[in-house]
């Protein structure tokens, strides 16, 4: 058996129910190489590496590590074999600091933590060029810091084979560059790395070889140097595909939705959206970019009336909708579809049928005690036909549908209500390329009909192509709104991390306020007044803090004086004693 390979996986199959996740998959990882595992969502990439990491056991097939056949039944086994995995969502203890998260699970038998752990870990960090504060608590860390910590953790365990599951999905351009530097350093140290991604440019940049999966089947493995993006896409999708997203030019109308000085609290009670100003015109797609968790969710929920607004105004066609119920906002023609990470959480009822889900927002409109299922079935049939939903019928529970079809059902229902504003967050989350393009088409059609669309997205490349303008959020504040045709990923990345703030460029001109605003004077005044109150309150709080600090200082000084006097007296006594 050749010793060239760190990992060999042969004939790996895995099924979940009747769904085949992997079928006869082959994977080889050479020592000291970076291998990209490429495939669309649902092609079985994560399933495959999870079997290497001991999270699932294969139904069939063999795994060889360093040429020896092994059986990996648990993450513990994987750890012993030198396999470490960095998961898509961090699995860290939020209340612990960085170093303790790394030493968890290694202090076998010992009752106390070793004092020298900080030094020991710092050495590893220096070797690979990680910059991280080991005493920082995880809940204070950014996504990128958490990820760095996860990587350090697997290195600390002595992993030689490292799997990274979509590490770049949550990072900015600059952070990705930093991550890739670390990965290259690890490769030099002789580590073997599998990186899962579906971004082709990253594949081309970082990897030595690419393995491609499609619908659970192994397609091929190629040397990165001998291929190109077009070829990879064709392998991945199975057919030729046009990689350009249509960007039709539409006629922009007056501002449909204007947000003024909006402040919204997060679940924890701090400001998730802080003094936000922006507007959407009819016939445009406004993208919202930002690192995960910088207020996108709270913004969407505030617009839909699902989250109380702390201060500010959300004005729809000249009417302030703050304080209206979700139902009333819906009736004004503002549709919201938020696709959360589990993809079913909001807007759909998973165990109900498509037909039942269709009438979720309108079931009350029919007279009488009973739910009108005929209408639901009829609407479901229309959406299934119009958007090409693949399903066994209108009676099928939504949770049984595949991701793309779930999202089509959701969007289909929202569009049926003929909204004039669509708020959509992550509508292509987890979709394959074909389904994603269908969703983009739907959004573009709506845009051409004069609907204003707020598009919260993850993938900057997509947003640059699809959106007309892009608003960047960072730490609950807006960093600027840029024209999608005149900006670059690098600029967006800088804004996402807060290094670049376009709102400060011209302080004399207020940012994010439409010239032809539809907001009436009274509302404006109210917003201004509320803003003044808020600022005054902030100033007051600050002043109070200063007073408290001064008082504390005075107290400390008094204590010091007393101590000094005491010391002087005892010195005197001592002298007298002599």
């Amino acid at each position: 058996m050749s010793q060239e390979y760190a990992v060999e996986m042969h004939g790996i199959s895995k099924a979940f129910g009747n769904k085949i996740a992997n079928s006869q998959v082959e994977l080889t990882l050479k020592r000291g190489e970076i291998l990209s595992l490429l495939g669309e969502n649902g092609s079985g990439k994560t399933t495959l590496v999870n079997m290497l990491a001991g999270i699932y056991a294969p139904d069939a097939g063999t795994i060889l590590i360093d040429g020896k056949e092994v059986e990996i039944r648990s993450p513990e086994d994987a750890k012993r074999l030198g396999v470490g995995m960095v998961h898509q969502h961090s699995k860290l203890v939020e209340a612990f600091d960085a170093a303790d998260n790394i030493t968890i699970g290694t202090e076998k038998g010992a009752l106390f933590l070793k004092k020298d752990r900080y030094k020991e870990i710092q050495e590893i960090a220096d070797r690979f060029g990680f910059r991280i504060d080991l005493r920082k608590k995880v809940h204070n860390m950014s996504v990128s810091e958490k990820q760095t910590l996860e990587i350090m953790k697997v290195l600390y365990y002595g992993a030689k084979i490292i799997i990274l599951d979509e590490p770049t999905a949550v990072l900015t351009v600059q952070e990705i560059a930093k991550l890739f530097d670390v990965l290259r350093r690890m490769r030099e140290e002789g580590h073997s790395i599998i990186i899962i991604t579906h971004k082709l440019n990253e594949v081309m940049e970082i990897s030595d070889r690419v393995a491609i999966l499609r619908k659970g089947e192994y397609i091929t493995t190629v040397n990165t140097a001998e291929t190109n993006e077009q070829e990879l896409t064709e392998w991945m999708v199975g057919s030729k595909i046009d990689l350009n997203i249509a960007h039709p030019v539409s006629e922009k109308t007056e501002p449909l939705l204007e947000i003024r000085d909006l402040t919204v609290l997060s679940d924890e009670g701090n400001a998730a959206i802080d003094g936000l100003n922006f507007y959407i015109r009819g016939g445009e797609i406004l993208g919202v970019a930002g690192i995960a968790g910088c207020g996108q969710r709270e913004l969407c929920e505030a617009i839909a009336g699902l989250r109380p607004v702390q201060s500010g105004a959300i004005v729809h066609k000249g009417e302030n909708i703050v304080g209206k119920t979700p139902k009333q906002i819906l009736e004004k023609g503002i549709a919201m579809s938020f696709i959360p990470e589990d993809r079913l959480g909001m807007g759909l009822v998973p165990s109900m049928s498509i037909a039942e889900n269709m009438i979720l927002k309108t079931y009350k409109d029919t007279p009488g005690l009973f739910v009108d299922m005929k209408k639901g079935t009829q609407e479901a049939e229309e959406v299934i036909e119009k958007l090409g939903v693949v399903t066994q019928g209108t009676f099928e529970p939504v949770r049984r549908l595949s991701g793309g079809n779930v999202q089509k059902v959701l969007l289909g229902r929202e569009i049926k209500g003929e909204p004039n504003v669509i708020v959509t967050a992550y509508p292509v989350r987890g979709l394959d390329i074909n389904s994603s393009y269908q969703i983009y088409d739907i959004l573009n059609q709506q845009k051409m009909k004069g609907v204003g669309i707020l598009f919260v997205g993850e993938d900057l490349d997509i947003m640059l192509e699809l959106c007309d303008k892009i608003m960047v959020l960072c730490h609950s504040k807006v960093m600027g709104v840029v024209n999608a045709n005149h900006t670059t990923k690098e600029e967006l990345g800088l804004m996402m991390t807060g290094s670049l703030d376009l709102t400060e460029k011209d302080a004399s001109k207020p940012y994010g306020i439409a010239r032809d605003t539809q907001i009436d004077e009274a509302t404006l005044e109210a917003v201004e007044a509320a803003k003044d109150v808020r600022e005054a309150e902030a100033a007051l709080a600050e002043a109070e803090e200063q007073v408290a600090a001064a008082r504390e200082a005075a107290e400390a000084a008094r204590e010091a004086a007393k101590a000094a006097a005491e010391a002087a007296r005892s010195a005197e006594n001592a002298k007298g004693g002599e």
């Binding site: 060999e8 004939g11 020896k68 699902l306 909001m346 009822v349 979720l360 079931y363």
Partner: protein
């Protein structure tokens, strides 16, 4: 690992029924072994239990009347609990709500029975029980909606509060205590059967209590309510995805409070039926329906029709075992509880096999070069049986040895 678990996409009804029957048979066999160990003939015991002693009995109709007295409160309580459970509101306070309903019904009977005509008394008993039990349940819902309290804990604790309230009334003598029997020197509950007792419809010698008819009607209404009405739709949405419910403009808090009120009120009604049939209070008035109802509702997967059937069967088990206990002195009536627990476990296992199946783990031929070309065929060849069937522990030992070697390296 020679076997692994795979999820089924669907399980045909016939197979499901087969699994459930096998499960119940296994539970009964275990019970039979225990009976045999005590020296009781299991067959005759089970026969006596399943027929509730009606075979060869001159007054078999009496046994059936008594059986219905067990069945009515159980089925009503189970249906009531399914309302809350559908909404993922874990109402395990059926016992407490039942007791409060009983107290209210008895209070009405003692207070107004002597002065009002009987039908009106019975009606007022129902109203009183429904309101008191409903409020006793739905204030927990209100707390949950308002402050996010845990309904499981609160309903559970309220069971004990209700229980001690009824025990207090049972043990405390005093002129104010209208629940007691004034003619008895000891503190015992008094009877109100002469003022308030549910009438029956005579069918031959058998008397069909009117509560049975009401119960059947209520079950049908409950089924329609949950399946067809807007309220039922709301309950299902709130239970499955509260976020979606809010998003669709539903007033989730209101729906929770309303549904829990209905759930608890229906349990109160069951209590009014029970009290009006017994004609006397008791600290054991619930007959444990608040607990058994939870099991029934889950065994029936919260379907109203299923609850009807499961309640009927569990009632046979419960009542049958009391009857059998009088014939077989060695076997306590509590044997039914043990059997019930065993059946529950067995059915849960059957449930597991309805949703999953065990599959043998295949092994592909490990020759790396061969695999790529012949992979599909390789998997189909049942890899050298001798190697494949190495006992699990041997494989484990080998794996461990392998690990040690690699660790040393």
């Amino acid at each position: 690992m020679p076997f692994h678990v795979i999820k089924r996409d669907s399980c045909p009804l016939s197979k499901k029924i087969l699994y459930y029957v096998i499960a119940i048979v296994i539970a009964l066999l275990i019970g039979a072994a225990i009976l045999a160990a005590i020296g009781v003939n299991p067959l005759s015991y089970y026969f006596n239990m399943a027929t509730m002693g009606m075979v060869g009995n001159r007054i078999a109709y009496k046994a059936f009347e008594n059986y219905l007295k067990v069945f009515v409160p159980l089925v009503l309580t189970s249906v009531a609990l399914s309302f809350a459970f559908k909404m993922r509101f874990w109402n395990i306070g059926g016992e407490g709500q039942f007791i409060m309903g009983s107290l209210a019904a008895a209070f009405v009977a003692f207070k107004f029975g002597p002065v009002l005509p009987q039908p009106l008394t019975l009606l007022l008993m129902c109203v009183g029980a429904v309101v008191v039990a409903g409020v006793y349940g739905c204030f927990v819902a209100a707390l949950k909606v308002k402050f996010g309290t845990n309904e499981t804990l609160l309903t559970l604790m309220l069971n004990y509060i209700a229980l001690y309230i009824i025990i207090y009334f049972a043990n405390t003598a005093g002129d104010w205590n209208i629940f007691l029997n004034p003619n008895s020197a000891r503190t015992t509950f008094g009877s109100f059967a002469e003022y308030a007792s549910w009438p029956g419809i005579p069918i031959g010698r058998f008397t069909l209590n009117i509560c049975v008819i009401f119960t059947i009607i209520i079950c049908i209404i409950a089924h329609i309510y949950l399946k067809r009405t807007k309220h039922g739709y709301e309950i299902a949405v709130v239970g499955d995805s509260p976020n979606s419910a809010r998003y669709a403009g539903m007033n989730v808090g209101k729906i929770i409070v309303r549904t829990v009120f209905l759930s608890a009120a229906l349990i109160g009604l069951a209590a009014a039926f029970k009290v009006g049939t017994a004609g006397i209070l008791s600290t054991a008035i619930t007959g444990n329906v608040g607990w058994t109802g939870v099991i029934v509702a889950w065994l029936a997967k919260l379907s109203t029709g299923g609850i009807f059937i499961v309640s009927a069967l569990i009632s046979i088990l419960n009542y049958g075992s009391t009857v059998a206990a009088s014939t077989f002195g060695a076997v306590d009536a509590n044997f039914a509880n043990m059997l019930q627990g065993m059946i529950l476990f067995a059915v849960l296992v059957a449930d597991f096999f309805c949703r999953f199946r065990l599959v043998r783990t295949e092994k592909a031929v490990p020759a790396a070069a061969a695999v790529k070309a012949d992979a599909p065929e390789a998997a189909e060849i049942p890899a050298a049986p001798a190697e494949a069937e190495i006992p699990a522990d041997a494989a484990e030992a080998a794996a461990q040895a392998g690990e040690e070697v690699s660790n040393e390296q």
